[in-house]
Symmetry: D2
Subunit: 92 residues, 4 copies
Amino acid sequence: MTDQQPPQYGYTRLRRIEGQVRGVARMVDEDTYCIDILTQISAANRALQAVAVGLLEQHLGHCVVEAAQKGGNEANAKVKEASDAIARLVRS
Amino acid sequence: MTDQQPPQYGYTRLRRIEGQVRGVARMVDEDTYCIDILTQISAANRALQAVAVGLLEQHLGHCVVEAAQKGGNEANAKVKEASDAIARLVRS
Amino acid sequence: MTDQQPPQYGYTRLRRIEGQVRGVARMVDEDTYCIDILTQISAANRALQAVAVGLLEQHLGHCVVEAAQKGGNEANAKVKEASDAIARLVRS
Amino acid sequence: MTDQQPPQYGYTRLRRIEGQVRGVARMVDEDTYCIDILTQISAANRALQAVAVGLLEQHLGHCVVEAAQKGGNEANAKVKEASDAIARLVRS
């Protein structure tokens, strides 16, 4: 009897990463050994990138595929936009 | 008349990144356009990496330099440990 | 009166990166200062990633768009394959 | 009866990566399937980063440790220089 939607793709993982980053801040505040903090930052980075790749897969599978099916310049524009986002992600 | 310490290096920036990641989760929840979400994830990644490099600089400047001054195997061990952390960071 | 094809996308840039990497090996051989070598390796990495993103854009614009226009499971398979390649690139 | 030196750290691996990049150019020239080319570019990137981390470890273990033992501002300058190189590497 509820109309609650399931959470969008990535939402739960992002909330978990938010908690991870809060945990890293706490480690810094408690003067944890630097190398252990760096390990946690690397883990948070990898988790963020995994969400990004998952979102990108969804985007390609929906927006880009739909634009391709409509044909015309829309598909090229979507491909260019996605490639620019991939470039930013690869450099980050 | 307070003995409050200034926050440790990176604490304030990490709390800000925590807020950034919460903002990304909200964007997902509100069904924001995927490419805009990816831009924010790239920004959070770059911010995390900047904190990591700053922490590493502190670590090299304190722990590694002190170990080098004591001499012996301690310096080698610290250099190896730091290099492994750098490798994880570069791959993440 | 020649049937020579223009080189494929990325070929010229890859040959230039090959030369860059050979230059880095020479720097190592000539005992160049380590930090200067690292700067050149970072540049070669960025150049390789730029070629990769360009190739990916071409791939999305041709293979993925064509698969989408044919419809069916082919498009999903191509999107999954491209996303896996992006994940490898982001982690590398 | 030869005074040949052993090759410097990283030289052999860099020559191998040079060959890898030449192989990628050949794949492009022969119109290999794009995703297979991307896999090879990711592998070359990871190999370059591994050499970079190895060179950095050597640099920290020699230049930075020696500067630390001499004391004074030299150590700080070396740590700053190494951190800047790490930052470029992490972003590349």
